[in-house]
């Protein structure tokens, strides 16, 4: 299993991914918008993640919690965009 998009972003010091809960799908501070065609390339969100996304400050159709996305070689060149705020 690869690492999560959240871990990769944190390791690369990408600002704007706070990840307070460290990847436990508790905090919703790792929210990002996943650009096409990458959005489809991840497993669909589970009910917990879906509900949390709905309650972020600016949910969109391509919103995900990046700690729930496992990266693999299929994701080379992945583009994500960040919301104006995680709060």
């Amino acid at each position: 299993m690869g690492q999560s998009v959240m871990r990769a972003a944190v390791a690369a010091q990408v600002p704007g991914i706070e990840a307070l809960c460290g990847g436990n799908c508790v905090c919703a501070t790792c929210h990002a918008y996943i650009e096409a065609p990458w959005y489809q390339s991840f497993e669909a969100p589970d009910e917990t993640e879906k509900a949390m996304i709905d309650y972020t400050s600016e949910p969109r159709d391509n919103s995900r919690l990046t700690c729930q996305l496992q990266v693999s070689s299929a994701h080379e060149g992945l583009v994500i965009r960040l919301p104006a705020s995680q709060h």
């Binding site: 944190v10 010091q13 600002p15 706070e18 990840a19 307070l20 809960c21 460290g22 436990n24 508790v26 905090c27 919703a28 501070t29 917990t48 509900a51 949390m52 709905d54 309650y55 972020t56 400050s57 705020s85 995680q86 709060h87």
Partner: protein, 428 residues
């Protein structure tokens, strides 16, 4: 081992042995930070991120960022039963904060969505109104103790809103949280009836919300169901209590310490008055720089970290105010930098137990500082009056006397909650 490494090690071992998270020495600047910086530097020099304190019957102290982070993120070897330390045998485990898995995540999921940004945003307007009403209460005077009249009332008013309680009951919450924490230590007999009164009050409120649900968080939580599961009556009581105690003290200390710093850090205040959009980043730097909370854990499996073997059953204290000044994680840790990148402080914890109120407190503090600075853009400490740093597991500046050029009220009406607070504050 040669003497060159022995001397710093002996010094830091002595410092650790004397460390008391409830009573750090206060320095010339009115805060415990000169002492925290001294302990941190000694720990760094001797490469001893963990030490043993002889206080309160003995406990491990962790001062480095990496080790605090890995211990908080490790619920297998460290139980949350030891969040608050020392405690007496009678203390009921705190809902969420002192629960372990799987009970903890069951409860957390049932309340988590109510604290997500979209829900929390509903309270911004009411918080803004309360700030202006509180300011109207003293703006014509040209002086005030903004610890008593802004930092303490706002979190109590917000908690009342969350729980769908009348805002004028705010001062009661203050008495109850003090009874549960400080007073219980000094005089448990006197505190007991107040704690009983609190439980009766919550019972009534829960019963009322079951009959007539509102838009408040407590109503949401009462009616929350996941896979047919919902909180029991006892859990609802525990949840009310953790909201009251966990939500109020920490938040009051964050807001109070920020206002105290803004009273003398003219450079910072000018930047935030000119660029209110930086207030959010400043709040996270306040959280890092003056972390209000220190948390504990109990070792559940023998484990060796940084050369120290911790035994099952031992208490560990994570010195978050020190870890958040670790130079290996935060370059120039003692500089207050609002443009800090990747400010991954531990002031709100991390992992499964990361603060439930994290989104709320960011919004709340932002509204308070934005509105305060829009009304009173220039103020200074009244140096004739003392400040007071509250020590304990939750710490920060509590008495903040300021002077400023008197201004005008914006409204002639005051909410009942604000009135109750103004009466409460003038009594003290």
């Amino acid at each position: 081992m040669d003497d060159a490494t022995n001397a710093p090690r002996a010094e830091v071992e002595h410092l650790y042995a004397e460390y008391d998270h409830l009573a750090p020495p206060i320095g010339q600047d009115g805060t415990p930070y000169p002492y925290f910086e001294h302990l941190r530097d000694a720990a760094l020099m001797a490469e001893q991120p963990i030490g043993w304190s002889e206080k309160h019957g003995g406990f491990w102290v962790v001062t480095s960022y990496a080790e605090c982070q890995s211990i908080i993120a490790n619920p297998i070897d460290f139980s949350s039963a030891g969040v608050i330390f020392p405690k007496y045998a009678v203390t009921e485990p705190l809902m969420l904060a002192e629960q372990d898995e799987p009970e903890h995540m069951r409860g957390r999921r049932l309340v988590n969505l109510s604290f997500m940004p979209k829900n929390v945003a509903n309270y911004a307007g009411a918080i803004k109104t309360a700030v202006h009403q509180l300011i109207d209460g003293f703006i014509e005077d040209g002086h005030a103790d903004v610890g008593k009249i802004i930092a303490e009332p706002i979190p109590a008013i917000v908690t009342a809103l969350l729980m769908g309680l009348p805002a004028e009951d705010g001062p009661l919450f203050d008495a109850w949280t003090t009874a549960c924490t400080h007073e219980f230590l000094a005089d448990p007999v006197a505190a007991a009836p107040k704690i009983a009164e609190m439980y009766t009050y919550f019972e009534e409120n829960i019963a009322r919300r079951k009959q007539e649900p509102g838009d408040d968080v407590l109503s949401q939580v009462i009616n929350a169901k996941i896979d047919g599961d919902s909180l029991t009556h006892k859990e609802l009581l525990g949840f009310s209590t953790v909201l009251l105690i966990g939500g109020i003290e920490n938040s009051a200390k964050l807001i109070g310490t920020a206002l105290w710093r803004l009273a003398w850090d003219i450079e910072l205040r000018r930047r935030l008055v000119a660029h209110p959009q930086w207030i959010s980043a400043a709040i996270d730097e306040f959280l890092r720089y003056y972390s209000p909370g220190t948390v504990g854990r109990i070792v559940t499996n023998d484990i060796t970290i940084a050369g120290k073997t911790m035994r099952r059953g031992q208490q560990v204290i994570l010195a978050l105010p020190i870890a958040n000044r670790d130079p290996r994680e935060f370059p120039h840790p003692d500089c207050f930098m609002i443009d800090r990148q990747n400010n991954r402080h531990l002031a709100l914890g991390t992992g499964l137990h990361s603060c439930l109120g994290g989104h709320l407190i960011r919004m709340e503090a932002r509204v308070v500082l934005t509105e305060f600075l829009s009304r009173i853009g220039s103020f200074r400490l009244d140096t004739c009056l003392p400040t007071n740093w509250i020590r304990g597991q939750v710490t920060g500046m509590s008495r903040i006397p300021i002077v400023f050029d008197p201004g005008e009220r914006v409204s002639s009406e005051r909410g009942a909650g604000v009135d109750a607070w103004l009466r409460h504050a003038s009594r003290i």
